[in-house]
């Protein structure tokens, strides 16, 4: 690609600074040997992949999307359909439509299934992206939300292929904490590379100032389509891993609640930076687990508070406070690497930007 050395160095720094602490965290959790903590860490890391995917499009383009969970859902179902053992298929999917009949006698190992699911998700994203990326602002929000509804309805009602409202069962349960760690490392590495190389930087330019971007020959729909396709594929990676993690799921697993939580985590972390995506998920997830522990078993002197909804309620309240006190999110939309860079050029950092 002919990237400059400096670009590669910055990529390595950003990826390392984000991934290494996550690996350390995962190892520490693993060493506790506590199954429930390992499970929580795994699902948090998988969720983080979806949020990194969301950041890759929304963070870099500044255009809101509610569709990343829809792509996670598509990937989870695709990978499930590809990897469920052949012997179970006739009883699970007795009425496959003619163009999908080959699925009944077809099964691949889970890693391959995940890869194929990610590729398929990327393809779907590319196709629906051609019209969708032309929308901006609230229209983009509604357009992607409408897409989420369409996917949800199809998944819920297309019984022959998705088992409809019944849960998907027989999905190989293979995702472990280590798979999740590898997944997030790949997602972060790709997302970091994308935003430092020319396509990503053009998309960021269009976010910063659309008119200026056009004035130097940047085609905003094309750059958005790239970011959208890549971001949706990354979200697909998260979705496929999640499918093989929980093994039984339905459309409601990937509903509005998850959608809005992923968007909220991104905004709370700080929209516009990969660091924000990672930090947002970590902070919200740790907080949620902490509250859930109080709700179900109490914590130290705090008694058990067994009201359904109390965890979500307090979590929402805290999210609200973060947004009110720090509207630009915890990181303010800056990457972890800029803290180092800023120090380097400290004498020139005059005044505040407006």
């Amino acid at each position: 690609m002919g990237q400059s050395v400096a670009t590669w160095r910055r990529w390595a720094w950003l990826t390392g600074l984000l991934v290494i602490p996550l690996i350390i965290l995962a190892v520490l959790v693993y060493l506790t040997g506590d199954i429930s903590w390992i499970q929580r860490a795994s699902s948090a890391l998988i969720l983080m992949i979806i949020v990194v995917g969301l950041h890759t499009f929304s963070g870099n383009s500044g255009v809101i999307s509610f569709a990343s969970v829809a792509f996670a859902m598509i990937a989870a179902y695709t990978s499930a359909l590809l990897t469920i053992p052949v012997e179970q298929k006739p009883s699970l999917f007795p009425d496959l439509p003619f163009f999908l009949e080959w699925l009944a006698s077809f099964s691949v190992p889970v890693p391959l299934g995940i890869l194929m699911a990610v590729a398929f998700t990327g393809l779907i994203a590319f196709i629906v992206g051609i019209p969708l990326v032309r929308l901006s602002g609230l229209a983009a929000g509604i357009g992607t939300l409408a897409f989420l509804v369409v996917v949800t309805v199809i998944v819920t009602k297309w019984k022959a292929v998705t088992r409809g409202e019944s849960t998907m069962v027989g999905v190989p349960k293979e995702t472990t904490l280590w798979w999740a760690v590898v997944g997030i490392a790949i997602a972060i590495a790709i997302a970091a590379l994308y935003q430092m190389t020319r396509r990503g930087r053009r998309l960021i330019a269009s976010r910063e100032d659309d008119k200026a971007a056009m004035s130097i020959g940047i085609s905003i729909p094309i750059e958005r389509l790239w970011g959208w396709t890549l971001g949706c594929a990354i979200a697909g990676l998260g979705g496929a891993l999640y499918g093989h993690y929980i093994a039984t799921f339905s459309a409601t697993t990937f509903g509005f609640a998850l959608t809005f939580f992923t968007v909220a985590m991104l905004v709370i972390g700080g929209l516009g930076s990969l660091t924000g995506a990672v930090v947002g998920v970590l902070v919200v997830q740790i907080l949620a687990e902490f509250l859930r522990t109080i709700e179900t078993q109490g914590l130290g002197p705090i008694p058990m508070l067994e009201f359904p909804g109390i965890t979500e309620m307090v979590l929402a309240l805290i999210m609200l406070l973060v947004l009110i006190l720090r509207p630009a999110g915890i990181t303010g939309g800056r990457e972890i690497t800029t803290w180092f860079r800023r120090r380097k050029s400290a004498p020139a950092a005059r005044g505040a930007s407006t």
Partner: protein, 290 residues
């Protein structure tokens, strides 16, 4: 046969139109898409349960007052501090607020839906030839028409209405002529709250229960309707909501049975098509920040 479908669709469409109005009004004065609007309707539903045994005028008044108070608190505590933040931050703030209210209702009223005793006097059916018109449809259509007219008169004829419209067009200039933006925005939230209470009363009168999650589907419809209709224009918003309800009911009536389950998918695909053709909505208002 078709006429019957159209009558039913007009009933649903009117209710949806009313849902979008309150949302669009707040959007037009402060550029906020208030996701917590659906929770106002939900709160109205619970207020109805608590006041069910009271005389009808107490029930109506109590519901309106309860919803308006929550609407005002929302503005003061959550939205005023983020008024100058990005549209995205405001949107997510309203989402967090919606979560907070929803979960608070779950904690307060329990996870299971609470039954709401039916209003038997509303379920009367009238027969005209071979057409059926329920009293509820008539009430809904009338209420919507009256609300739209009252809102139009309010915006057109009163000082606060003129100030609201001035602020909608140019916030800085409206400050320069001495309009107190805090008061104007608060009054938009009051009107929005009244509309949400009316929606709650119409909506839950035909349902048998109220649940903490009741507000979710309502806000989705209102949100989508307001955007495709045209934000910042009240007529556009009402039209968008009406079309959502009308089209949905017609699709359910006219689609062949095997496709009927996909009515939502078809409706939302149509929404995407409308957005692509007219990103600013069917009736686009000039100079609205999106």
């Amino acid at each position: 046969m078709y006429l019957q479908y159209i009558i039913d669709s007009i009933g649903t469409g009117s209710l949806y139109a009313l849902m979008t109005l309150g949302l669009a009004l707040v959007f037009s004065v402060m550029g906020l898409m208030n996701f917590a609007y659906g929770q106002l309707v939900m709160i109205g539903g619970f207020a109805m349960i608590l006041l069910r045994s009271q005389p009808w005028w107490v029930l109506i008044l109590g519901t309106v007052v309860a919803v308006v108070i929550v609407s005002l608190l929302m503005e003061r505590l959550a939205f005023r501090p983020v008024r100058t933040a990005t549209a995205m931050t405001m949107l997510i703030t309203s989402f967090a607020l919606a979560q907070l209210l929803q979960q608070a209702a779950r904690v307060a009223f329990g996870a299971n839906p609470r039954p709401l005793e039916q209003f038997s006097e509303l379920s009367v059916q009238y027969t005209v030839g071979d057409l059926y018109i329920s009293r509820m449809t008539l009430i809904t259509v009338t209420t919507t028409l009256v609300s739209v007219v009252v809102l139009a008169l309010l915006l057109k004829r009163t000082n606060i209405g003129v100030q609201l419209r001035a602020s909608t067009e140019d916030v800085e200039m409206s400050k320069l002529v001495g309009i107190r933006s805090n008061r104007v925005i608060a009054s938009a939230f009051v009107i929005s709250g009244v509309l949400a209470a009316i929606v709650a009363m119409l909506f839950f009168s035909t349902r048998t229960n109220v649940s903490w999650s009741s507000g979710e589907s309502i806000v989705l419809i209102a949100f989508v309707g307001a955007v495709i209709g045209g934000l910042g224009s009240m007529v556009g918003a009402a039209l968008g909501g009406f079309l959502m309800g009308f089209t949905y009911t017609m699709l359910n009536a006219l689609l062949p049975v095997e496709l009927r389950v996909f009515a939502d998918a078809i409706l939302y695909t149509l929404v995407i098509v409308v957005l692509l053709i007219r990103p600013a909505g069917i009736i686009a208002a000039k100079g609205v920040r999106v």
